[in-house]
């Protein structure tokens, strides 16, 4: 397939794909990959705040837990949040954008004004307020992120739909008397897919960052869950001595988000129907 061939030539996109796939493997196999899976949750006062060593490659934290194991286990939380939040936001946002973009009248007007209101406040601040009011927990953090992320998809799908709606092939379909649902879901949605896919990919990275902030501020995961943001927050009072405690979860965040962004960037050029070729 031409798409794959083109993508394979895009080095940075491939790097992104490798990082994302590796993260997924790590997340799935986390309990088996972690060198000290049991030590990840239990505290060992005797081995607290140890420097990286052969036994604990990335050192230990304030409760004597293995940082590497907790970083590995954190990947699972991060990916779960990313996938669920982005999927949830798409389920809400994409149909709204399609409806608002395809029709005219007061329904689209209302949808888009509500979207504007949500977009008028930075997502993180809205999510923080919502998470606080719902009560701090990982589930509520995910809910808050989902409920504040859908407008991004609505906006993109709306713009794409408006653009595609006036294209000649849609007019030709209307000339053949095709129904609105048929045109929207069979014709406009696939044509709008490239930017949605790119947005979703980059959105995963973005969501991981936002979730880490919520965790860092105590509005997300709760101790003793192995979550990267939370870990960095816990590490602050042991600085500058226990630098490893703060550094490695942050590097993990960077790597995964970097992977998603590279992948999204690479996909941008590739998801183009002109690369579809019959055989």
């Amino acid at each position: 397939m031409l798409v794959l061939k083109k993508f394979a030539r895009d080095t940075s996109g491939m790097v992104g794909l490798v990082i994302v796939l590796a993260t997924a493997v790590v997340a799935v196999l986390a309990p088996r990959l972690a060198p000290h899976p049991l030590d990840a949750y239990e505290s060992h006062p005797l081995q607290r705040l140890q420097e990286p060593s052969r036994q604990f490659l990335l050192g230990t934290d304030n409760l004597g837990r293995d940082v590497l194991s907790r970083v590995i286990l954190g990947a699972r939380a991060a990916l779960t949040i990313a996938v669920l939040v982005v999927a949830g936001a798409m389920v809400i946002g994409v149909p709204l954008g399609l409806v608002a973009g395809y029709h005219r009248g007061w329904v689209p007007e209302i949808i888009m004004r509500v979207t504007d209101v949500f977009l008028a406040v930075p997502q993180l601040i809205l999510a923080l307020a919502l998470a606080q009011l719902l009560g701090p927990s990982l589930k509520n953090a995910m809910l808050a992120l989902t409920l504040t992320y859908w407008p991004f998809f609505t906006r993109i799908v709306f713009a794409e739909t408006r653009r595609i709606r006036v294209s000649v092939f849609v007019e030709a379909l209307q000339g053949l008397n095709a129904g609105a649902l048929r045109v929207m879901f069979f014709h406009i949605l696939p044509n709008a897919a490239p930017p949605i896919i790119v947005r979703a990919t980059i959105g995963m990275g973005f969501t991981i960052l936002s979730a880490a902030v919520l965790g860092f501020l105590g509005m997300g995961a709760t101790p003793p869950d192995p979550e990267w943001g939370l870990a960095i927050s816990e590490s602050r009072q042991y600085l500058p001595e226990a630098w490893w405690f703060a550094a490695f979860p942050g590097i993990a965040i960077f790597l995964v988000v970097f992977g998603f962004n590279l992948l999204g960037d690479g996909l941008r050029d590739v998801v183009d129907p002109r690369l579809r070729r019959s055989r």
Partner: protein, 336 residues
């Protein structure tokens, strides 16, 4: 142009109204009883009922919304639990600090981002371009709170080069209040000692905050310039014998800045959001750290006020962006 401006302002009003509804709904739909929250943890049921009546929580929702609306219009955002003072006053006092930080970050981000973006576009597909691409993708992948901590760890704790936290050293008296931005005020009043100190305190937070903005601006400037270079009129300009330097510096850049400026408007929201976290790490006495404390103390009035304020500031910035857009591209103003 005036009509264009008025229209933009008018279009923001429904958004602001929607924002009020949203914040109101947030408080009312959320399961927590605001009266209970207001009364504190040790309140008796009678106290809660009393508070409910006092704040009108026993009225129908629409009446409550009316009350809320009137309060907001009168800039009465309630009293903060944590400070015991009116939220509006707290916010007004802390706003300059946040503005100083975000403007500094924006200046840094745009000042470096635009030239870097042009450079990447002009050196399209060279190692420089690829390197900058790594930077732009990586720059938005770093968790800013972590980056802040790492900068503190290195520049303050290890090297002891820059202050760890705060806006001014404890020994330094703040400059006379003119704009509320210490860097500007100290310069205007000739307080160069305060200027130096304020700048040193500003350095790390501003760099932290600007990283994402710089990456995004670089990226958008690059793609904007590249896109403009593909345009028919650039081909014509080349064929008409415009020298390359003039072409890029004047003709291409002005066209591509349209995209960059729209992006800067959108970035302002990200900067405000970033400020929340970064201010709390650097103990920067602005809106952000205020919001974080409010979150920790469940000070919901303060939370809503900050949400509202950020929405308003963001809307104003975007009106400004539209105005600049209209000034750069004459078609925009006539079309709307």
């Amino acid at each position: 142009m005036l009509r264009f401006f008025l229209r933009r302002v008018l279009l923001v009003l429904p958004v602001l109204f929607g924002l009020l509804v949203l914040t109101f709904v947030l408080v009312r739909i959320v399961p927590n009883d605001p009266s209970a929250a207001l009364a504190g943890q040790n309140a008796t049921p009678e106290q809660i009922v009393e508070i409910r009546a006092k704040y009108g929580f026993d009225q129908p929702l629409i009446v409550q919304f009316g009350i809320y609306l009137r309060q907001v219009v009168q800039a009465d955002l309630g009293t903060s639990i944590q400070s015991g003072r009116p939220v509006a006053r707290d916010i007004l006092q802390r706003l300059p600090a946040t503005l100083e930080l975000t403007f500094a970050a924006l200046l840094l981000g745009a000042g470096l981002g635009v030239p870097l973006g042009v450079l990447a576009a002009v050196r399209h597909n060279t190692w420089l371009d690829h390197g900058l691409r790594f930077f732009t993708v990586g720059g938005v992948a770093i968790a800013s709170f972590w980056f802040a901590i790492m900068l503190q760890l290195f520049f303050s704790m290890q090297l002891d080069l820059l202050p760890l936290r705060g806006r001014l050293g404890t020994a330094m008296t703040p400059p006379a209040h003119l704009t509320g931005l210490f860097v500007l005020d100290s310069l205007l009043t000739g307080r160069f000692d305060a200027f130096r100190d304020a700048l040193r305190h500003l350095a790390l937070p501003a760099v932290t905050l600007s990283l994402g903005a710089m990456a995004t601006i670089t990226r958008f400037t690059r793609s904007g310039v590249l896109e403009t270079m593909q345009k028919e009129y650039v081909l014509y300009e080349i064929a008409a014998g415009y020298p390359r330097e003039l072409l890029i510096a004047v003709y291409v850049l002005r066209n591509s800045l349209v995209a960059t400026i729209t992006q800067i408007g959108l970035l302002f929201g990200a900067l405000l959001a970033g400020a929340v976290v970064i201010e709390s790490i650097y103990d920067w006495p602005g809106i952000g750290s205020y919001a974080v404390t409010a979150i920790f103390t469940s000070d919901y009035k303060a939370i809503l006020a900050v949400t509202l304020l950020v929405g308003i500031v963001y809307s104003i910035v975007n009106i400004l962006v539209d105005l600049i857009h209209g000034l750069i591209d004459p078609r925009v103003a006539t079309e709307l």
